[in-house]
């Protein structure tokens, strides 16, 4: 039997180390690329465009006829690539790369890069991770304010941290199980009626959006804010800043346009707020909240219809009202429960929920959405 050379072994090892890119991209990958059309490209880098929301590597690729064309290879965000040890200099113009990925649906010279390997050395340079930090062996107690109220944000003493890694990334009615990807794209379109109690028009619109692979998502196309439950489905997390002096809570997001939501805990009601602002309903609505024991209960109304309130494209109308419950059963877990009342789009109120994990000792990443770079 012939013993393979160390070079061959190294090449084989490199080829087995390539990993599928996890689903944390800025947009539904399948909206733009076709997972039934895998492709392999080998070429020379002409430009590395290291910008949000996605890094692009441009490379000259020679086709079988000997003609050279420039391709754009889309990769994960700079945040994801940095987390994987990739920097803006990891790949430079002149490098020869081998790309394995997906072809663009529109037939253009674009590809989604699942793996990137330096052809000269066989070194894999694309590696991304999207796994939640390991849970502590023993749950740590819920951090509290001096009066005993749970803290939703960092613990005292200037500790860093934020909430991320939601256990669900799309709204589905409690007790319903349907297969979908991280962007809420259904594996089986026939499951659409089970996701939520949709009115006929809303169900048809939801299916239409699904059939178009969520490519019309205004959050991705136009950087519209992820209002409603979608705020807690984002890959780069959320942060609560509790302004106890003014009795309000800021909810910041780690992506988008650096916008934020305010939850008032000063006892104010909705009267006067909604009525005074009928012509200017909001992406995040108007939230008032109170503590019920260990749970913050927020009542939010006044949403506009200019955005998708969940991954996956479930419709809503201006009649949307959310009752959200936030609790922190232990230091590292945020429990999010939401009841959706929208007689404009749904046949009855319904509920969903998930948990988020505490990411300790890190600032929330800032992933700025930029128009016209879908």
């Amino acid at each position: 039997m012939r013993v393979p050379s160390w070079r061959a072994l190294a090449a084989a090892l490199a080829s087995t180390l390539v990993l599928a890119t996890p689903a944390v991209a800025h947009h539904e990958v399948l909206a733009k690329f076709d997972d039934t059309k895998p492709l392999t490209l080998t070429g020379v880098v002409t430009l590395v465009d290291w910008r949000n929301p996605h890094v692009h590597v441009f490379m000259n690729v020679r086709d079988p006829r000997g003609e050279t064309a420039n391709w754009a290879v889309e990769l994960e965000s700079p945040i994801e690539l940095r987390r994987s040890g990739w920097s803006a200099d990891t790949v430079k113009p002149g490098d020869r790369l081998a790309i394995e990925g997906l072809a663009a649906r529109d037939g253009s010279r674009q590809a989604w890069g699942r793996t990137v390997t330096l052809a000269a050395t066989g070194r894999r340079v694309l590696f991304t991770r999207n796994t939640a930090p390991a849970a502590p062996l023993h749950p740590r107690p819920t951090p509290r304010w001096p009066d005993g109220q749970p803290r939703l944000g960092p613990s005292a003493g200037g500790a860093q941290g934020y909430w991320a890694y939601p256990s669900a990334t799309a709204l589905v009615e409690n007790s319903v199980s349907v297969a979908m990807d991280a962007y809420g794209l259904l594996r089986h379109i026939a499951d659409a009626p089970r996701v939520a109690p949709l009115q006929p028009w809303a169900q048809a619109l939801y299916i239409e959006r699904q059939r178009r692979f969520l490519k019309d998502d205004p959050m991705f196309l136009h950087c519209k804010p992820p209002g409603g439950p979608r705020q807690f489905q984002q890959p780069y997390g959320v942060q609560f800043v509790e302004d106890r002096e003014r009795r309000r809570i800021f909810v910041l997001i780690g992506s988008g346009n650096n916008n934020y939501r305010l939850i008032y805990t000063d006892g104010r009601g909705h009267a006067g707020q909604i009525g005074g602002d009928d012509d200017n309903p909001l992406y995040y609505g108007r939230s008032v909240a109170r503590w019920e024991g260990e749970t913050l209960v927020a009542d939010t109304r006044g949403f506009n219809e200019d955005f998708w309130f969940t991954n996956g494209g479930l419709p809503h109308t201006e009649q949307l009202r959310l009752i959200e419950r936030f609790s922190r059963p232990d230091f590292d877990t945020l429990k999010y429960e939401v009841t959706i009342e929208d007689p404009g789009a749904y046949t009855r109120p319904w509920s969903s929920g998930w948990t988020l994990r505490w990411v300790a000792d890190e600032d929330m990443p800032r992933h700025v959405c930029q128009d016209n770079r879908p």
Binding site: Q199, P200, W201, Q203, A204, L205, E208, R209, R212, D216, P218, H222, K224, E305, D306, F307, W308, P315, H316, T317, E318, Q319, P343, G344, A345
Partner: protein, 132 residues
């Protein structure tokens, strides 16, 4: 009134281009502008404002000028077929009923269109409006 409507349309046409406000809710909700060609009673140009309250579609044709209340409006999501009716009066003061049937085109776009036909007992023609 017709002059006012035409003036408004002319003004709209010379204003700097501005994309339609997105509307990701009920597909009919919003302001629509277009033509019901051949309409000798109310002119070629038409403005329609529609709303959705969760159970019914309401609206007005040519608000501010003709103020024709929409009745019997429906949207069939199976094909996105639109049906609108509105009572009016012809130039002699006789009652007429407009019946508009069309289909939503470019559904995902904010400036989606409804394309179809309009008719009364005596007149009919093509109908096209786009969401503003």
């Amino acid at each position: 009134m017709r002059v006012l409507l035409l003036a408004a349309l002319a003004l709209t046409s010379v204003l700097p281009g501005r994309p339609a406000l997105a509307q990701e809710g009920h597909p009919l909700k919003g302001s629509w502008l277009g033509t019901w060609s051949g309409n000798k009673t109310h002119g070629n140009d038409v403005v329609i404002v529609m709303n959705w309250d969760g159970t019914s579609i309401t609206g007005v044709i040519n608000p501010g000028t003709d103020n024709l209340a929409i009745k019997n409006a429906s949207l069939n999501p199976d094909g996105w077929l639109v049906h609108l009716e509105a009572d009016a009066k012809d130039k002699s003061g006789n009652p007429i009923t407009y019946v508009i049937d069309g289909k939503i085109e470019n559904l995902p776009l904010a400036n989606r269109s409804i394309v179809g036909t309009w008719k009364t007992a005596r007149e009919s023609g093509p109908f096209t409006i786009s969401r503003q």
